[in-house]
C-alpha cells in the first residue's frame, strides 16, 4: 500500500468495510478514554471477538464493571452493561445472575478494583463458585487515579504512593482463585489475543466461576514511571518473556518482580457444581416437595 504523507490525509473518512466487532461497541461513545498504547482496549477487542465466536445470545449477555480505567469497559459495549461502584461489580453481578440464570454475566474490571477494595467479594464468589466470568485486567497499578501501587504491583516497582519503590509483595491471583475454588483459571497477556479470545469463549461457556487474568500494559503511568519503555516495547517484552504452560501449578505463577518470566496458560479447568446448581440441588434434596424452585429460574 502507498504510504500516506500528512498532505494526503483525506478530509473525510472513506467508507470502509465494517469491523465485525463494531456491532458490539457503542460507536457513538468513541473516541474512548484510554491512553494510546493502553492494553485495555485490546482486551475488550478480544472479548468482543469472543462474544461473536461463541455464538452466545448477545441479548442475554450482561457486563458488569467496577471503577477504574478498566471499569469503563462496560460503558463501551453494546450489551446490557452496568458500571457500578469501586470493587463491587461481583456482588452486583451475583444478584443479577441469581435473579435470572438465563443471563450470561461477565464481570470486567481492574486489578485494584477486584483484588483490593473488592478482594473479599472475589474470594467469596470463587468459594461459592458463582456462575460468573470474571475478566481481570491487571496493569500492575491503579491507573485511573494516577498510578498508585496496589496489591498486584511488583516488589520494588514505583508508584505515586510508593515513591521509593514498593516494599510490599503482590498477590498471585491464579493461585488465589485456584485455592478459593474457581472452576476455571487462566492468564494471558494482551500480546496473546488469540489465546485470550479462546479462553474467553471457554470461560463464558463454563458453569461456576471462571477467572481470566489479563496482563495489560499501562504505558502512561506504570511503564513510564518504572522506565520500562513504551507500549510497543512492552508488547515485545510480553512476547519474549511469556511462557505458555497450561496446567501449571498455580502456586508457581506469581509475578513478583518488575522484570521476570510470565507464565501464561490455562491453569485450572474443573467441574465443581456452580452456585445455582448447588443451591437448587441441595434445597430440592433437603426440602423435598416443599421446595419451590423460583419461577424466574425456569428456562
Amino acid at each position: 500500500m502507498k504510504k500516506q504523507t500528512k498532505k494526503e490525509t483525506p478530509l473525510s473518512i472513506e467508507p470502509r468495510p465494517q469491523n465485525p466487532i463494531e456491532s458490539l461497541i457503542r460507536m457513538e461513545r468513541l473516541p474512548h478514554m484510554w491512553c494510546p498504547g493502553c492494553g485495555i482496549g485490546i482486551s475488550m477487542g478480544a472479548f468482543a471477538r469472543a462474544v461473536l465466536e461463541s455464538g452466545i445470545d448477545q441479548n442475554l449477555l450482561s457486563v458488569v464493571s467496577g471503577i477504574g480505567c478498566t471499569g469503563r469497559v462496560a460503558g463501551y459495549l453494546r450489551l446490557d452493561s452496568f458500571h457500578t461502584t469501586h470493587g463491587r461489580a461481583i456482588p452486583f453481578a451475583t444478584g443479577l445472575k441469581l435473579a435470572n440464570p438465563k443471563l450470561k454475566v461477565v464481570v470486567y474490571s481492574g486489578d485494584g478494583d477486584l483484588t483490593s477494595i473488592g478482594g473479599n467479594h472475589l474470594i467469596h464468589a470463587a468459594r461459592r463458585n458463582v456462575d460468573l466470568t470474571v475478566i481481570l485486567v491487571n496493569n500492575l497499578n491503579y491507573g485511573m487515579t494516577g498510578g498508585q501501587f496496589g496489591p498486584t504491583t511488583p516488589h520494588e516497582a514505583f508508584g505515586t504512593t510508593a515513591p521509593y519503590g514498593n516494599y510490599e509483595y503482590p498477590l498471585n491471583l491464579p493461585y488465589l482463585m485456584d485455592v478459593c475454588g474457581a472452576n476455571y483459571v487462566a492468564r494471558w497477556t494482551v500480546y496473546h489475543v488469540r489465546q485470550l479470545t479462546r479462553a474467553m469463549v471457554e470461560a463464558m461457556n463454563k458453569d461456576g466461576l471462571s477467572f481470566i487474568e489479563v496482563i495489560s500494559p499501562c504505558p502512561e503511568l506504570y511503564l513510564r514511571r518504572n522506565r520500562l519503555g513504551d507500549a510497543l516495547q512492552e508488547m515485545v517484552y510480553l512476547k519474549e518473556n511469556s511462557r505458555i504452560q497450561n496446567g501449571a501449578e498455580t502456586r508457581s505463577v506469581a509475578i513478583e518482580q518488575k522484570r521476570q518470566e510470565i507464565i501464561v496458560g490455562k491453569f485450572v479447568d474443573r467441574e465443581r457444581p456452580g452456585y445455582i446448581q448447588a443451591m437448587d440441588e441441595h434445597l430440592g434434596k433437603a426440602m423435598g416437595a416443599r421446595y419451590q424452585r423460583p419461577s424466574f429460574w425456569e428456562k
Partner: protein
C-alpha cells in the same frame, strides 16, 4: 418532540401473589412480621448479613423463601448485600436487604448508588444504640438523619417508621410499593423494641393486599431511553436480558444513561432525583394525629417512642392539659405542610426521640420559632421514662 412513556393509569396496581401471603392471625415479633410483609409485597430476593437486632428477618426469609419460590443469599458483608439486591432488581425482581447500625453504615455507598441508578429496593434498618458497635441488643433511633443524608451527594429517599409488629407488616408492603412507584431506595426504620416485641399480627388474604408492580417501558427500542421521564420525573424501568442493550452508571449521566461529565448534566440529574420525591411529597407522606388542632402541646414521636409518649400524653391529660399526639409514619419526606399548619394552631411541640436531636431539628425548622419546640433526648439502650416527656409537656404549658 420528546417521546415519553404513555400514560397508563393504575396499570401497575395489583393484588398480592398469594404464594407469599401467610393469611391469618399470628402472634409474631416485628422482625418476623416485616419479613412476611416483604413476602406479601412480592419480594423474591433478599441478600443479607447477620446483625442483631435484625437477624430474625433474614433467618425467617431464609427459611420461608424456598417454599415460596425465590432466593436468599447470605453475602460476605453489607457492602455486598446492598449491591447484590440491586443486581437482582435490574434483572426484574423486588428485592430487599436488612441490617442495623454498623451494617447500615456499610450500606451507605450503595444507598447512593440506588439513588443514582434509581434502583427500586427496600432496606430495613432495625435501629440499635450507637455510635459504632454501641449496644447491639438494645434500641436506638439515631439513624434517622443517616438514612436521609448518609451517602454522599444530593438525593432524596423515602423512609417509613412502624411502631408495632402489625405496622412492620403493613409498612414493609408500603415501602415496596413506594420504592417501585418512585424508583428510589425505600427504608423501613424499625428499632430494636419494635423488632423484638411480639404482638397480634393480622395478615389479610392476598386479594386484600395492594401491591404496585414495576412499570416497564413499553416504548420500542429505538425510542426508548433508560432515563427519559415524563411529568412525574420517574423513568420507566427496563430489565437486563430483554434485548434493549442499555447502559447504566453511577457516574453523572444523561437520559441515555451514558456518563456525561459536566455541570449541566449534573444539575439536571440531581434536580430530578430530588424533585421526583419533593414534588410528590404530599402524595407520599403519611401520619397519624389526634387532638392536635388547638392543643396546648403536641407530642410528636415515632417508632417505639410513640408508644411511650402515649403514656405521657394520658398522664398530662389527666392533669388537665390539652395535649395532641402526632406520629409521622412516613418520616422522609417529612409531613412539612401539616407541621407548618399545626405550628399556628398549637402552643408548642415536645419531641421525644432515642437520640440527641434529629427529627426535632426538622420540627424546629418547620415551626420556625412560632412556638417552642422541646426535644426530650435519650441516648438509647432503653426507652424514655414517660415522666421525662410529661415534664417537658408541663414546662411548655407553664411558659
Amino acid at each position: 418532540m420528546k417521546k415519553t412513556n404513555p400514560k397508563a393509569k393504575d396499570l401497575n396496581h395489583a393484588t398480592a401473589d398469594p404464594k407469599g401471603v401467610l393469611t391469618g392471625v399470628h402472634f409474631m415479633n416485628g422482625d418476623q412480621s416485616a419479613c412476611e410483609g416483604a413476602l406479601a409485597a412480592g419480594c423474591r430476593f433478599v441478600a443479607g448479613y447477620p446483625i442483631t437486632p435484625s437477624t430474625e428477618i433474614v433467618e425467617r426469609f431464609a427459611s420461608r423463601i424456598p417454599t415460596v419460590g425465590g432466593v436468599f443469599i447470605q453475602m460476605e458483608d453489607e457492602l455486598a448485600s446492598s449491591i447484590a439486591i440491586q443486581g437482582a432488581a435490574w434483572a426484574g425482581l423486588k428485592t430487599m436487604t436488612v441490617s442495623s447500625g454498623p451494617g447500615f453504615t456499610l450500606m451507605m455507598e450503595h444507598i447512593g448508588l440506588a439513588a443514582m441508578l434509581e434502583t427500586p429496593c427496600v432496606i430495613i434498618d432495625v435501629q440499635r444504640a450507637g455510635p459504632s458497635t454501641g449496644l447491639p441488643t438494645l434500641p436506638g433511633q439515631a439513624d434517622m438523619m443517616q438514612v436521609r443524608w448518609g451517602s454522599h451527594g444530593d438525593y432524596e429517599v423515602i423512609a417509613l417508621v412502624p411502631n408495632s409488629p402489625q405496622e412492620c407488616f403493613d409498612l414493609t408492603i408500603q415501602a415496596f410499593n413506594l420504592s417501585e412507584e418512585f424508583r428510589v431506595p425505600t427504608f423501613v426504620m424499625m428499632d430494636e423494641c419494635v423488632g423484638h416485641m411480639a404482638e397480634r399480627v393480622v395478615i389479610p388474604p392476598a386479594e386484600k393486599i395492594k401491591v404496585f408492580n414495576r412499570r416497564y417501558t413499553t416504548l420500542p427500542i429505538e425510542e426508548y431511553l433508560p432515563y427519559r421521564t415524563g411529568k412525574d420525573l420517574v423513568p420507566w424501568f427496563v430489565k437486563a436480558g430483554t434485548g434493549r442493550r442499555f447502559h447504566i452508571t453511577g457516574l453523572t449521566h444523561d437520559e441515555r444513561g451514558y456518563p456525561t461529565m459536566n455541570a449541566e448534566a449534573q444539575g439536571k440529574l440531581v434536580h430530578r432525583l430530588v424533585e421526583k420525591i419533593r414534588t410528590n411529597a404530599e402524595q407520599i407522606v403519611r401520619f397519624e394525629e389526634e387532638d392536635c388542632e388547638g392543643a396546648e402541646v403536641i407530642v410528636l414521636s415515632y417508632g417505639i417512642t410513640s408508644r411511650v409518649a402515649s403514656r405521657a400524653v394520658e398522664m398530662a391529660r389527666k392533669q388537665g392539659i390539652k395535649v395532641g399526639r402526632f406520629r409521622p409514619i412516613v418520616v422522609w419526606p417529612f409531613p412539612e405542610k401539616r407541621i407548618r399548619q399545626l405550628a399556628g394552631m398549637a402552643g408548642g411541640f415536645v419531641v421525644p426521640e432515642l437520640n440527641y436531636g434529629q427529627i426535632s431539628l426538622e420540627v424546629e425548622r418547620l415551626v420556625a420559632g412560632k412556638v417552642p419546640v422541646t426535644l426530650v433526648p435519650h441516648g438509647g439502650g432503653t426507652v424514655h421514662q414517660p415522666e421525662d416527656i410529661l415534664r417537658a409537656i408541663r414546662e411548655i404549658v407553664r411558659l
